[in-house]
């Protein structure tokens, strides 16, 4: 190297560089010339062609939206399909006097003057260039006729037939199936450009959103020749779009309707699962809304009524509503005590209606406590504690359990997490533990927290979906299920899931005993008030099958006087929530249910009859016969 450096001729090398730089610069100039030539070709010679493409036709290749896959229930009842709907659209570029045209439309269709604002809003919204802007979503036959007669006066205004989503069950299955909406600008940025270039509606909630990729289908296209007015003269080549896949849900439309009827207009939620598969048989959240409104469009007042109602019809209580589970949580506390060795099925305590932690003043009372201190359930073992719903038994048991181990055990049932396979928006509830309390409240875990947890109160929160899962797991004697809406895509069931998992730490005998105790909640009757199951008087008589259940009455986070609520609403909203979880038939469970009635009052008196109605409907032989068809 040193030798070479020694004889390097610096001047010569610089000269060489300059020579090369000149050559390369000339090359650069030539290549720039190629670019300029290309631009001249595109922008000068072929300008007319491209301008035409861009202005008149926008696309010589026009994309065709695929028909969206249909959604069926387990018997093949249609939950969502597509219907031909004539709509009124305008191509702004082809209209000379927009004001006059709109006025004419208003006049011909005899629309109220305020409809004009709606038109204006749609025209000002971001629209795809060159594509028609939809003014009215669904035209009646008369309106179509009027427009057809006056067609010559309506240049640039078109009646277009296209398929739009239709939900025949209307509000009944709105929260179960979800709905489609027009995509927002943000959605359009996320969606695959080409695939969605002709699509007008995308799944925005529920099953419609989760299975969007399956339901959407493959876009098609046609190469068209258009006349000067932009009307299609001839389709030169057509590739038909490929329809989205049809999907089938575990949902049972009739059970869904029966569940809505059982709630009888009260606010609340019902989730019914098939214990064997975790399939969601019904999913109800009331009040509900008509998803067709999101397709056909609604005015501002209608939308405001939906979105601003204090009863929140758009809120899916079944999967997103989080409530203290109250006494429905007690079977899990009991099972935890057995699994962790803190109690046995034989152990008895005396319940005098109140409980104190050692060395503390605060009194925790039983639900049956009365002012003259006659409350309490007497001598109770775990079985009696469940069918009588003894608070004192579970206060005592919870206070003796190691909190981390207790929480760990309970979490196996899906509390504090979302077990549902295809409901990603489902809330996780809240399973508090000392770490959580330190992080979120900056307080240590007090023994009193465990005591409250023993009866499903305190910070504990669960959704109806989670409590239905708990019921299904108990029905399965410990085999864990993951709720799923989907039964089939096209003609295929979804991929098999991993190995079955089981709740750890319990024997078959333990499961039989807890199921039997929950059976007593419903069936143990005629033994005098103090010895009957809590729900027997309300649902246990003349039952043709064996049902196991557990009631719960959950305290409500107090709502204080505020501008939004009047006095009557306030007292209503501060009433307790009624819960009931159940499954039946006990020996071979076909259905597991969780019922929540918001501000309903007592679990046994209010929620249990709802649960029975739902299960009756499902186990009714006639109903099952239809189902098997």
């Amino acid at each position: 190297m040193a030798v070479e450096l020694a004889i390097k001729d610096q001047k010569q090398e610089k000269k060489l560089f300059v020579a090369r730089a000149i050559v390369l610069f000339v090359l650069t100039l030539l290549l720039m010339g190629v670019l300029v030539a290309r631009l001249i070709k595109l922008q000068v010679y072929d300008h007319a062609t491209y301008k035409n493409r861009s202005d008149e036709n926008r696309l010589q290749v026009q994309t065709l939206a695929p028909p969206r896959g249909m959604i069926f229930d387990r018997q093949g009842t249609i939950l969502a399909d597509n219907q031909n709907s004539p709509l009124l659209a305008v191509v702004p570029d082809r209209i000379e006097d927009m004001d006059a045209s709109l006025a004419l439309v208003l006049e011909l269709l005899e629309l109220p003057p305020n409809a004009r604002e709606g038109f204006q809003r749609r025209l000002e919204a971001r629209n795809r260039p060159g594509t028609p802007v939809v003014l009215l979503d669904s035209l009646t036959a008369e309106q179509v006729a009027v427009l057809a007669v006056n067609r010559h006066r309506l240049k640039g205004i078109e009646v277009i037939n296209r398929l739009v989503r239709h939900y025949p069950l209307k509000s009944v299955a709105a929260h179960a199936v979800g709905s489609v909406r027009r995509p927002t600008v943000a959605d359009l940025r996320e969606l695959p450009t080409v695939q969605y270039s002709a699509t007008e509606f995308i799944g925005k909630r529920g099953v419609e959103a989760f299975y969007e990729p399956e339901l959407h289908g493959e876009v098609g296209y046609q190469k068209v020749e258009k006349d000067a007015h932009g009307r299609i003269r001839e389709a030169l080549e057509v590739k038909e779009p490929e329809a989205g896949k049809n999907i089938k849900l575990h949902l049972d439309a009739r059970l869904q309707a029966a569940s809505v009827a059982a709630l009888a207009g009260r606010r609340g939620a019902i989730v019914a699962l098939e214990p064997a598969t975790g399939g969601v048989l019904s999913l109800v959240s009331e009040p509900s809304y008509d998803p067709n409104l999101f397709v056909s469009g609604m005015n501002t007042a209608e939308f405001r009524a939906l979105s601003e109602s204090i009863y929140t019809p758009l809120f899916n209580r079944a999967i997103s509503g989080q409530y203290a589970p109250g006494s429905t949580f007690k079977p899990l506390v009991g099972l935890s005590g057995i699994a962790l060795g803190n109690t046995t099925w034989e152990e008895e305590i005396e319940d005098r209606g109140e409980f104190r932690l050692p060395g503390q003043e605060r009194v925790y009372r039983d639900w049956s406590w009365t002012r003259d201190d006659t409350g309490g359930q007497g001598i109770v073992d775990l079985r009696r504690a469940i069918y009588r719903s003894s608070n004192v038994y579970f206060y005592d048991l919870a206070s003796r359990m190691e909190i981390e181990a207790f929480i760990e055990f309970v979490s196996q049932f899906g509390l504090g997490s979302n077990f549902a396979l295809d409901l990603p928006q489902a809330a996780q509830g809240l399973l508090p533990n000392p770490d959580w309390k330190r992080e979120n409240k900056d307080l240590p875990w007090y023994p009193g927290d465990s005591v409250n947890l023993g009866i499903g109160q305190g910070d504990l929160l669960a959704t109806p979906m989670q409590m239905a899962t708990v019921a299904a797991i108990i029905a399965n004697r410990g085999r864990i299920v993951e709720p799923q809406m989907l039964m089939q895509v096209g003609n295929y069931p979804p991929a098999e899931r991993s190995e079955p998992r089981y709740i750890e730490g319990l024997t078959g005998a333990d499961w039989d005993l807890v199921v039997s105790a929950m059976e007593d909640v419903v069936h143990r009757g005629g033994q005098g008030y103090r010895n009957n199951g809590t729900a027997w008087a309300y649902i246990g008589q003349n039952l043709e099958y064996r049902m196991a259940g557990k009631s719960g009455t959950a305290q409500v986070v107090e709502i204080y006087q505020g501008e939004e609520y009047d006095e009557e609403q306030l007292s209503e909203l501060n009433r307790k929530h009624a819960w009931f979880i159940a499954f039946a038939p006990v020996e071979d469970p076909k259905i597991a249910v969780a019922v929540l009635v918001e501000n309903g009052g007592g679990g046994s008196s209010v929620a249990a009859p709802v649960a029975r109605e739902v299960i009756d409907a499902y186990l009714n032989p006639q109903f099952l016969e239809q189902a098997s068809r």
């Binding site: 090398e13 060489l16 300059v18 390369l24 610069f25 650069t28 631009l39 595109l42 922008q43 491209y50």
Partner: protein, 376 residues
């Protein structure tokens, strides 16, 4: 410098008194041109992001950072670059290997090296500078024009990282790295005869490359070039849309913020790789022509600075970085206007996105350093 000689040539006497910009090693002409291009680009981007001020500001800030990087790179003396070239090359190879095995996968290719919470970058960006630097370092110590042996070793230096990058796969960057390395060889005086043979070889092996090297996807992109309407929803979509946008712009364009083709859905990647289409539609032929003219002036100025550098290393590196800049813009505009297949190369100093802007400005900083630091 010799006093008598200075007295005879008054311009040199004046040059001997360093101006303020010489002291911070900045070339005002080049910087002025760069600022013009950046302002031009931001104006077009403003239209392409369509009211999304956050995106626009992010890009403006990025250019602020890029200019800072440029100034810093200009302060580093050339001998430091040369001393560090081999070490940087080794580091880059290691980083590339790490990316290959542990890189974060984004849209099907592994380009990013992710150190959680700390940084996330593409080692392949660094390579665009380090490869020409290493080849220049190697050839600086040889007699030029280089002998066959030295040419082969230079090719090895270029191809090892380029092939790894091609495997990521990141064809765009791979091409730029090869272009950067080869232009060092060109500036070093590679015999024209060999250049001719290489081109002949390339032509003759085309069928073999087509048959055995290119993947179906890459072939599709090339075929699309000749018949974009053959697959109008797939590979042809971008070309149909971008040529329509450019063509519809005509001589003078539809005016800023007036482009309809570049709205939301029609033009994919409108603010990144395909921003020329927005420019062509809204500002027309003269708009793009003005940009090309600015680019040409930048290239001319850079080549002048390169020729004026005081060492072979400096000349070779500065020249190569200039040519990389040209390849960047040529590939991008040719691709968007339907002359070359679609490869992911942004339009330099205009496309939205930070990494390439910073690499490019670092390159301009190095070019200015090579010329400005005289004594070493």
């Amino acid at each position: 410098m010799n006093q008598d000689f200075q007295r005879q040539v008054p311009e040199l006497a004046a040059a001997a008194v360093p101006r303020w910009y010489d002291r911070i090693h900045i070339d005002p002409i080049l910087v002025g041109l760069l600022i013009l291009v950046v302002l031009f680009g931001l104006t077009v981007l403003r239209s392409a992001v369509d009211g999304d001020d956050a995106l626009f500001m992010a890009q403006a800030n990025r250019f602020g950072l890029a200019f800072l990087v440029m100034v810093i790179m200009a302060q580093v003396p050339p001998n430091l670059y040369m001393r560090w070239a081999p070490m940087l090359y080794l580091i880059c190879l290691i980083l590339l290997a790490l990316t290959f095995f542990f890189g974060a996968e984004v849209k099907g290719s592994r380009r990013w090296l992710d150190v959680p919470h700390l940084l996330r970058f593409q080692p392949s960006e660094l390579i665009k500078i380090v490869v020409p630097m290493s080849v220049a370092w190697y050839l600086h110590q040889r007699i030029l024009p280089p002998s066959a042996k030295h040419v082969l070793i230079s090719l090895l230096i270029i191809l090892v990282p380029a092939i790894v990058i091609g495997q990521q796969p990141d064809l765009g960057t791979g091409i730029l790295v090869v272009a950067a390395g080869l232009s060092v060889l060109m500036f070093a005086g590679l015999h024209w005869r060999w250049v001719f043979y290489a081109m002949l070889l390339a032509v003759l092996t085309t069928p073999i490359v087509w048959q055995y090297v290119l993947t179906g996807y890459q072939k599709q992109r090339i075929l699309t070039l000749f018949d974009p309407e053959g697959d109008p929803l797939g590979a042809g979509w971008n070309i149909i849309q971008s040529t329509t946008a450019i063509g519809s712009g005509g001589l003078f364009g539809k005016g800023l913020f007036q482009g309809s083709q570049s709205y939301l859905d029609f033009l994919p990647e409108a603010r990144t790789d395909f921003i020329v289409a927005v420019m062509g539609e809204e500002l027309g032929f003269f708009g793009i022509f003005a940009l090309l003219a600015l680019y040409l002036l930048i290239i001319a100025r850079c080549l002048f600075l390169a020729a004026d550098a005081s060492s072979t290393f400096g000349r070779l590196l500065a020249g190569a970085l200039t040519m990389t800049f040209f390849v960047y813009l040529f590939v991008n505009i040719a691709m968007v206007s339907g002359l070359l297949p679609v490869v992911g190369v942004p339009l330099p100093l205009v496309s939205y996105g930070g990494t390439s802007a910073i690499t490019l400005m670092a390159g301009f900083g190095i070019i200015m350093s090579m010329r400005s630091h005289k004594a070493w």
